[in-house]
């Protein structure tokens, strides 16, 4: 059986560090599943996300052992654009993601680079801005909007790529209540469309969406029993 995401005995050490941040991660995620990963800050959750979306080993340097398979293909042998077509990630810090001078350019950037047809790009911009209720900021410079609004634009940009696997790294931490409800609805709709979703979360209130919760501790994934210890 081929899983959207399968991880086999994954170890990773950043090149400046002597400590294994990931130490034998094993994981299989089913199509249409929402998996939430929890753990203490600094335990490697974001590093695991970077491994799944190919930033590790293609951008960040370090010693990576084991394998991350996307629909059966190892990220080591896939090129980054091929991984990006399948895996979208909304980063924890939107400032690391946004770079365009206007919100609509930001959302258009991904599909433009995937050679999506022009009218379709326009439709994706409108649809995803409506999804996060940010239509009023369509022509704004991302530098001039609030931190929470930046997070919503980063989310819209990732969804505009229409990926099959989506990673949300603590996306709701700076979002107001109305925005959280909109994001939760969007995630439920993505699940209904059989997208595979990986969430990194600290807020227990946001775990109601999830099919499965796993704890990352000492570099390994285990079942979550309500405590990080």
């Amino acid at each position: 059986m081929t899983f959207p995401v399968e991880i086999k005995n994954l170890h990773f050490t950043y090149s400046e560090s002597k400590k294994n941040i990931l130490n034998g991660v094993e994981l299989q995620i089913n199509k249409g599943e929402i998996l939430t990963i929890v753990g203490l800050s600094g335990c490697g959750k974001s590093t695991l996300c970077y491994c799944i979306c190919g930033i590790i080993p293609h951008v960040f340097e370090g010693d990576m052992q084991g394998e991350v398979l996307i629909y059966g293909n190892s990220t080591k042998s896939m090129r980054l654009p091929a991984i990006s077509t399948n895996v979208g990630i909304v980063f924890q810090d939107p400032d690391t993601q946004l770079f365009s001078p206007a919100v609509e350019d930001e959302i258009a950037f991904g599909p433009e680079n995937l050679c999506v047809e022009r009218n379709e790009i326009g439709e994706r911009i409108s649809k995803n801005l409506e999804l996060v209720a940010m239509e009023k900021n369509r022509y704004a410079n991302p530098e001039n909007i609030s931190g929470g609004e930046k997070q919503l634009i980063a989310l819209a940009s990732t969804l505009s790529l229409n990926p099959q696997i989506i990673i949300f790294d603590e996306v709701m931490s700076q979002i107001d209540d109305a925005g959280k409800l909109r994001i939760k609805k969007a995630i439920r709709d993505l699940k209904a469309a059989e997208k595979t979703i990986i969430m990194i979360e600290h807020d227990i209130e946001n775990l109601d969406l999830t099919d499965r919760v796993m704890l990352l501790k000492e570099g390994r994934l285990t079942g979550f029993r309500g405590s990080f210890q």
Binding site: G39, G42, Q92, D95, D176, I204
Partner: protein, 212 residues
């Protein structure tokens, strides 16, 4: 007080209010309602278009950022905007070195803050290698090193796990008990309910509700 980033969009509109020492005030409201702008105006990073901000009765326009910073500790919404030192220990030491504190006092304070924020194992780490949650703990710890009378904390629970969040609540409650006032900007209702007696809600740059 009013403030616009550029013509046609007013971020803060005709706001008048007081913040007291010995009081924890939470500022809530939708994304883009002006909460962060309000914090930046109080600490003097931004200057109001109209109106005045008085800190201990002194117009903050007549104070240097250093003078404001010695009274008010400010946590940026994004710790990357705040952390500038190469190593964790250097970041923590900066404020006391800047104030000319004695080496022994600096070491003692660093040791306390490292312990308080679970950063002891990371004291010699490069700050750019830290996770978001570790950066957030470092940023808050660095502010505590200066022992300001008042704190403005913009989304202090951002990136913190449940256990570190619970610990931060205890730390802030202790500070409040010992007379440190705070303005906390947050969307985290559970956190706000635990620490703030006074709540202000903003929308479209205005205060629309108090003690909501």
């Amino acid at each position: 007080m009013s403030f616009s980033y550029f013509k046609g969009k007013t971020a803060v509109k005709n706001i008048s209010f007081q913040l007291k020492i010995n009081e924890v005030t939470a500022v809530t409201g939708p994304n883009g309602s002006g909460k962060t702008t309000l914090g930046k105006l109080i600490i003097g990073i931004l200057k109001p278009d109209n109106g005045r901000i008085l800190i201990d009765g002194i117009d903050n326009n007549k104070m240097t950022l250093g003078q404001i910073g010695s009274r008010i500790g400010y946590l940026f919404q994004n710790p990357d905007c705040q952390i500038f030192a190469t190593k964790v220990i250097e970041e923590l030491a900066f404020i006391l070195k800047f104030k000319g504190s004695k080496e022994e006092e600096i070491k003692k304070s660093i040791s306390e803050v490292l312990e308080l924020f679970d950063l002891a194992d990371l004291q010699n780490s490069y700050t750019f290698n830290l996770s978001q949650g570790e950066k957030q703990r470092l940023a808050i710890g660095a502010i505590m090193m200066g022992r300001p009378q008042y704190l403005i904390l913009d989304e202090p629970t951002y990136g913190l796990d449940m256990e570190r969040k619970a610990k931060l609540v205890r730390i802030l409650q202790n500070l409040a008990l010992n007379g440190t006032g705070m303005m906390v900007i947050s969307h985290d209702r559970a956190f706000i309910d635990l620490i703030a007696a006074r709540k202000i809600k903003m929308s479209e740059g205005e205060i629309i509700e108090e003690n909501c």
